[in-house]
Symmetry: C2
Subunit: 360 residues, 2 copies
């Protein structure tokens, strides 16, 4: 009898063990994620669970109604940065903006046509430049519209925001890990009521939506950065809220610093809320200089090229188009993400079709 009991127990334990193995297989996906250094930030918790997409080097939560991400999160490491400087495995000239998301139903996706001629650039949340090391696929994934792109002011995108991205990336020279959560914000204007009898200010939310899919143009962008050395020593946290407009190059980064709680209230998200009391982590700019480098790093040329692409699309006649294109070529402007030449080719074809119709 005793033997039987032993065998029974062994069997039971095996059964429970089998059940655990099944559970384990289920959870393998999440443990794979934990081993991905770019997704290291998830140990501090995901800000929300709405429409998550897991890419090679970032995680995004997509706002289906607005056709943009609510937030995008990824991590950099000192190790990554050193590899990246010497042996980048990908280049952004081989990437193209694409609307195809893994899981997002077509009717909730932004398209290149929405951005086309809108006056707004396609701003990366996880910067392409932070994903040079890994694979071309990983970089390509940062160009997926609804997942990682928001309509961003041209000058802001090419200048001040890019300097903030340089700054963030360079933090990985000083700290072992840099965790970044970044995304769009919608902040209302405060207005005095027109009603003289009324003491209460009225706040109004005002922003543009672009294209047929009505992609929402954020009023601001936020970037929250958590840095740490091994074993969670020497941590620092900084949150910055930048208006989605040209920013004077002399403005200090600290001018835009806000508390993490401020960003949380605005976004309805909880950031870095697991395992640490983030309100007890020192301010990033007390741990390191928050001085932005490269004031003049971004040339006026990039802005001008994008402006040319816009003008190309507005040409009403072949003559106008050809004249403008001569000007572009005389300036020896290279293509930016193939935008400029493809805009030219497209307009050329359109005007050609119109001409044919007139000739008929």
């Amino acid at each position: 009898m005793r033997r039987c009991l032993i065998f029974f127990s062994t069997g039971a334990v095996t059964g429970l063990f089998l059940s655990n193995v099944i559970d384990h297989l289920h959870s393998q996906r999440s443990s794979r994620l934990e081993r991905n250094p770019y997704l290291n930030f998830i140990k501090y918790g995901l800000p929300s669970s709405q429409n998550l997409e897991y890419y090679r080097q970032y995680i995004t939560s997509i706002d289906y109604a607005r056709r943009i991400p609510s937030w995008v999160g990824y991590s950099l490491s000192r190790d990554y940065l050193s590899k990246c400087s010497f042996q980048p495995k990908s280049t952004r000239t081989r990437s193209e903006f694409q609307s195809q998301c893994q899981m997002v139903p077509t009717e909730f996706q932004a398209t290149n046509e929405d951005y086309y001629d809108s006056g707004w650039s396609r701003g990366h949340m996880a910067p392409a430049g932070d994903h040079k090391y890994g694979s071309q696929e990983a970089m390509n994934e940062t160009f997926i519209l609804s997942a990682n792109i928001v309509p961003q002011d041209l000058d802001n995108n090419g200048n001040y925001w890019q300097r903030i991205e340089y700054f963030t990336r360079n933090l990985a020279k000083q700290f072992d890990f840099v965790h970044v959560i970044t995304g769009p914000l919608f902040i209302p204007n405060e207005q005095k009521s027109l009603d003289a009898d009324d003491d209460f200010p009225i706040k109004q939310m005002t922003y543009n939506v672009i294209g047929e899919n009505e992609v929402h143009v954020p009023t601001h962008l936020f970037k929250c950065v958590l840095v740490e050395n091994q074993n969670q020593r020497d941590m620092g946290v900084g949150c910055f809220v930048i208006p989605n407009e040209p920013i004077d190059r002399n403005r200090l980064l600290t001018d835009f610093a806000v508390s993490l709680a401020n960003v949380e209230r605005r976004t309805g998200l909880h950031l870095f809320h697991k395992k640490i009391r983030v309100d007890e982590v020192p301010f990033l700019c007390d741990k390191t200089s928050c001085e932005l480098l490269g004031k003049d790093a971004m040339s006026h040329e990039l802005i001008e090229q994008i402006e040319y692409a816009r003008r190309v699309r507005r040409c009403k006649t072949m003559e106008q188009l050809q004249k403008l294109w001569n000007e572009v070529e005389s300036k020896r402007y290279a293509t930016i993400d193939k935008w400029l030449t493809s805009a030219y080719a497209k307009r050329l074809a359109e005007l050609d079709t119109q001409k044919l119709k007139h000739d008929d």
Copy 2:
């Protein structure tokens, strides 16, 4: 050896069985939900999984950033309606608007103070009147601000929208089940560009946010209704989008009918998307008359009472307040959700405190 194998197998099966029991306990909650007739709509799938809250008679998905629900879903049945007419178990005069949500962190909650003096009423998404039968607790739960309430135009709330709610409820006289998903919408204005050179219209999103917590005021409200008789026969679906403003009483409900796909694109939600091809379900107004009853059901008095409450709060002196209150009393206005008398009592106390300070 054979005996051992038998015992081993029995043990293994028991272990697997135990594991299943644990799973079963885990899933009990969801099967409880399925048995709740008010939550019957979930058999057609939940529109999203963001910040869900399960109440006795409705399910809500809360938009933490906007401090309002994204959608609220519930079901009515013919059976429910007949019980309700004869033996209501609760009354709205015993309910009070409350900010306390089960799970919503305080920083993401709307409060009564946000609505106070905002000029916007607190509009139910799952109407209190649809939850008379059940318990007082169930009705009280429809008064939870972030979960079921949005800022709604006073006249819209008290007139046209209420007539749509009557209409929806009465559908349960004709059909066995009525599934309702309702919520706020944010729709941009189309504007012609000011730039004469520009052929592309610019769309702008404009709406108010109220109170310290910046509760977002929707531009429109939507209500999608799926009706069915037993065994999914005789189904019908109707979606209506109503501007959040006074609506002329002569407007037909069909004037506001839109496709389900239209609401889905606006909200980023998929509605009634499981088990049926909802695009093949006939239009509700082809199955039943969509004529709204009770054109004059809502008196001007309700609107006037709420306006009185607003004026009470703005009184600058005791004399003003007393004069106004005499007017209120002369009209024999009863309280609406205790709003009017509590506003009076509060303002009385405030002016009294001010008077004491002046006397010091």
